[in-house]
C-alpha cells in the first residue's frame, strides 16, 4: 500500500466556456514530496490546484488524497492548507489569531493551550514570533506570506497548496522565502503542490517539476532531468534558454557546429531538424581560424554570456564561466563547438 501515491489526480477536466483549462490532467504525488506545476499563463496550473483545494468544481475526473476520494468533498472538509498569491490574512485579526483561526473551527478544534503552543511553534518556525500581536497592515508583504504559510500549516494539512505565493514579493524576499518554504516543507515532511510561472522558483525547490500546457501535463520530472533531458520541444524551450540551430539527424545523433551529439528521446529520428541547444552546452575558444565572431559579451558575475555570430550569419548565445571568457570581447574571432551532451531536436515546421 505504501507504494501507492499519496495524492492522485486522474483525468481532470474543466472548461470555462470554450476554453479548456484542464484537459485530462493526471498527476501523482508521493507522501512528503514537493511537486511544482510550472507553465505559462492560462495553462491550467492554478485550476488544478484550486480543484484539489475544493475551490473549483470539475467537469470530470477523480481526486484521491491519502486513499480517500475527495472529488466531491467540500473545501472546508478537505484539510488542505493553502497560501494564495494575493495577501489573504484576515485584516481584523492579529498574526497569532490568523495562525490559530483554523484550530478554532470545528474541523480542527483544539484546546486553547494547545492552540497557543501550536501558534508559538509555527510563528517560531517562520521566524516571526516577535510579530505575534501585529495586525496584517503592520506587516510587510513577505511577513504576511510567512504568516499565511504558518496559518496553512497550523491545521497540519494533508496537502500544502501554494498558489504563486511569492509572485507579489520583491526579488530578494522572494529568494529568501522560497528557501524558507523548502526548509519548512522538509522539516515537517508536508506533501506540497506548488504552482508558479517562475521556472527558477520551480527548479529551485521542487522534488519534481511538472510542466503544463493547454490543460495537460507535458512532462514531469526531477528539475535536473527536466532541464537536461526535456521530453518535448515545448519543455525544452519553456524551461531555460535554448539556441535553435538546424542540422541533420541520423542514427540517433545530429551534426551541429562541427560536432556530433546524441539526440534526446522524443526528438525527430531522421532528417533535417532544429536542435534546441542550451547556452552552457556551447563551447567557445578564441581562434583566428574559427567559425564565428563574438558579437557582444555580458558579464554576469560567475559566468559570462556571449552573443556569437556564426559564419553563416546565425546568431547563438553561449554561457561560460567568466574565467573561460577572458579576452572574448566583441569582434573576437572564436571557434564554436558543442559539448558532448544530448540535445532535443524538433522538426522544421
Amino acid at each position: 500500500m505504501s507504494s501507492s501515491p499519496y495524492v492522485q489526480l486522474n483525468n481532470l477536466a474543466k472548461h470555462f466556456g470554450k476554453v479548456k483549462a484542464l484537459d485530462g490532467l493526471s498527476l501523482d504525488i508521493a507522501e512528503g514530496e514537493l511537486v511544482a506545476l510550472l507553465g505559462p499563463s492560462g495553462c491550467g496550473k492554478t485550476t488544478a490546484l484550486r480543484a484539489l483545494a475544493g475551490l473549483q468544481e470539475l467537469d470530470r475526473g477523480l481526486m484521491i488524497v491519502d486513499g480517500k476520494d475527495v472529488t466531491f468533498q467540500n473545501a472546508n472538509k478537505r484539510g488542505m492548507g493553502m497560501v494564495f498569491q494575493a495577501y489573504s490574512l484576515f485584516p481584523h485579526m492579529t498574526a497569532r489569531d490568523n495562525v490559530e483561526y483554523g484550530l478554532k473551527l470545528k474541523a480542527h478544534r483544539t484546546s486553547r493551550d494547545k492552540r497557543k503552543a501550536r501558534s508559538n511553534e509555527l510563528l517560531e518556525l517562520v521566524g516571526l514570533s516577535t510579530h505575534a500581536n501585529h495586525y496584517p497592515h503592520q506587516l510587510s508583504g513577505g511577513q504576511q506570506q510567512r504568516i499565511a504559510l504558518a496559518r496553512a500549516l497550523a491545521i497540519s494539512p494533508k496537502v500544502l497548496l501554494l498558489d504563486e505565493p511569492l509572485s507579489a514579493l520583491d526579488a530578494k524576499v522572494r529568494t529568501q522565502l522560497r528557501e524558507e518554504i523548502r526548509r519548512i516543507q522538509l522539516e515537517l515532511g508536508t506533501t506540497t503542490l506548488f504552482v508558479t510561472h517562475d521556472q527558477e522558483e520551480a527548479l529551485g525547490i521542487a522534488d519534481r517539476v511538472g510542466v503544463m500546457r493547454n490543460g495537460q501535463l507535458e512532462q514531469i520530472a526531477a528539475p535536473d532531468e527536466l532541464y537536461d533531458r526535456p521530453g518535448t520541444a515545448f519543455v525544452a524551450e519553456f524551461v531555460g534558454l535554448t539556441n535553435p540551430i538546424s542540422g541533420v539527424v541520423s542514427k540517433g545523433a545530429i551534426e551541429l557546429l562541427d560536432s556530433t551529439v546524441k539526440v534526446l528521446k522524443g526528438s525527430i529520428t531522421i532528417g533535417q531538424g532544429i536542435a534546441l541547444v542550451r547556452p552552457e552546452n556551447i563551447e567557445v575558444v578564441a581562434s583566428q581560424s574559427g567559425n564565428a565572431t563574438v558579437f557582444s559579451a555580458s558579464f554576469l558575475g560567475a559566468s559570462c554570456r556571449l552573443s556569437i555570430t556564426l559564419n553563416d550569419g546565425t546568431r547563438v548565445t553561449a554561457q561560460l564561466p567568466s574565467s573561460d571568457a577572458v579576452g572574448l570581447s566583441a569582434g573576437a574571432p572564436v571557434k564554436v563547438s558543442l559539448l558532448d551532451r544530448p540535445v532535443f531536436v524538433k522538426p522544421i515546421i
Binding site: 483545494a53 475544493g54 475551490l55 467540500n74 473545501a75 472546508n76 472538509k77 478537505r78 484539510g79 488542505m80 492548507g81 493553502m82 494564495f84 494575493a86 495577501y87 489573504s88 484576515f90 485584516p91 481584523h92 485579526m93 492579529t94 489569531d97 483561526y101 483554523g102 473551527l105 470545528k106 474541523a107 480542527h108 495586525y135 497592515h137 499565511a148 496559518r151 496553512a152 491545521i155 497548496l161
Partner: protein, 264 residues
C-alpha cells in the same frame, strides 16, 4: 513656505465658508426657538427647550422611532449585509440587477411607494398589529440605496474572494465566512450604512404621516402646528442628535485603532 501659508489660508477659507453655509440654518433655528413674541414685544429665553419633555406623545414617539431604527439596523445586519456579501461572492452575474433593485427606492418618490404599500399596512393594522414598529419593513426598503452603496464600496475595497477561500480551506462554513470573516472586514461600511439608515429613519415623515403612524417627525409636525418655537427646538435637538450619530462613523484613520482595540 509662502506657498504652504497660501494653501493653508485657502483651506481655512473654504472650511469657513462651508461651515457658515451648514451652521447658519442651525443657528437660525436656535435663534428662532429662543425668541418669544408677545404683547410686550420680543424677548429671549429657553422656555421652548424647557417644555420639550412635557410635550404629549413626544417621548413615546422618540422611543418608537429609535426602536424602529434599531430593528432596521438588525435587518441591515442579518438580511441586507449577508445578501450583499452572498451576491458579491457567489452570484457576480446578479450584481448589476441587485444594485438596480436597491437603487429603485431612490428613483420612486416616497408618495408613490406609500400609495403602493398602503393596502398592505391596512391589512397589517387590522389583522396583526397597529404598532408603528411595523414601519421598519418599509423603512428597510427605503434605506436600501444608501446602505447598499456603502456596503458595495466596502466589499469592492477588499479581496473578499481570497479571504473567503482562505477561511474555507481552513475549515470554515459559509456562515462563518460571512459573519466571522467578511463582516468584520467590512465593518466600516456596515457602520456607515447603519448610521445613515438611522438618520433616514429618524427623519422620515411622508410615509409615517400618510399611513397615520405617530413617529418622531409626525409628532414634531403636530407640535409645530400648536407651537412653532417648540417644534423648531425639537427639530434642532433631533438634528443635533443625528449629527452626533453621523460623527460617530469611524474614519479611515481611526479604523486602525478600532480594529486594534476590539478584535478580542
Amino acid at each position: 513656505m509662502k506657498k504652504s501659508i497660501g494653501v493653508r489660508i485657502w483651506r481655512i477659507s473654504i472650511i469657513a465658508v462651508v461651515s457658515f453655509y451648514l451652521l447658519m440654518p442651525l443657528y437660525a433655528m436656535f435663534d428662532f426657538s429662543t425668541k418669544q413674541f408677545g404683547l410686550g414685544g420680543k424677548s429671549r429665553n429657553l422656555d421652548s427647550w424647557r417644555i420639550i419633555p412635557s410635550q404629549p406623545d413626544l417621548a413615546i414617539a422618540i422611543t418608537r422611532s429609535l426602536l424602529t431604527a434599531l430593528i432596521v439596523m438588525a435587518l441591515i445586519l442579518f438580511l441586507i449585509v449577508p445578501t450583499a456579501i452572498w451576491v458579491h461572492l457567489k452570484l457576480p452575474l446578479l450584481r448589476r440587477p441587485f444594485e438596480l433593485l436597491c437603487l429603485l427606492p431612490l428613483a420612486i418618490p416616497a408618495i408613490v411607494i406609500v400609495v403602493g404599500i398602503a393596502p398592505l399596512y391596512r391589512w397589517i393594522s387590522i389583522n396583526l398589529t397597529e404598532s408603528p414598529i411595523t414601519l421598519s419593513g418599509v423603512y428597510s426598503m427605503l434605506i436600501l440605496p444608501y446602505t447598499y452603496r456603502s456596503l458595495s464600496a466596502a466589499l469592492d475595497a477588499v479581496d473578499i474572494h481570497t479571504l473567503a477561500e482562505a477561511a474555507r480551506t481552513l475549515g470554515a462554513s459559509i456562515g462563518r465566512v460571512i459573519f466571522g470573516i467578511i463582516m468584520p472586514t467590512i465593518k466600516t461600511g456596515i457602520i456607515n450604512g447603519s448610521f445613515i439608515a438611522i438618520a433616514l429613519v429618524l427623519g422620515e415623515y411622508t410615509i409615517s404621516n400618510i399611513l397615520n403612524y405617530k413617529t418622531f417627525q409626525v409628532v414634531i409636525a403636530q407640535i409645530g402646528r400648536a407651537n412653532g418655537n417648540v417644534a423648531v427646538a425639537v427639530s434642532l435637538a433631533s438634528l443635533l442628535f443625528v449629527l452626533f450619530l453621523l460623527l460617530l462613523i469611524p474614519n479611515k484613520k481611526r479604523l486602525g485603532t478600532v480594529l486594534d482595540v476590539d478584535v478580542k
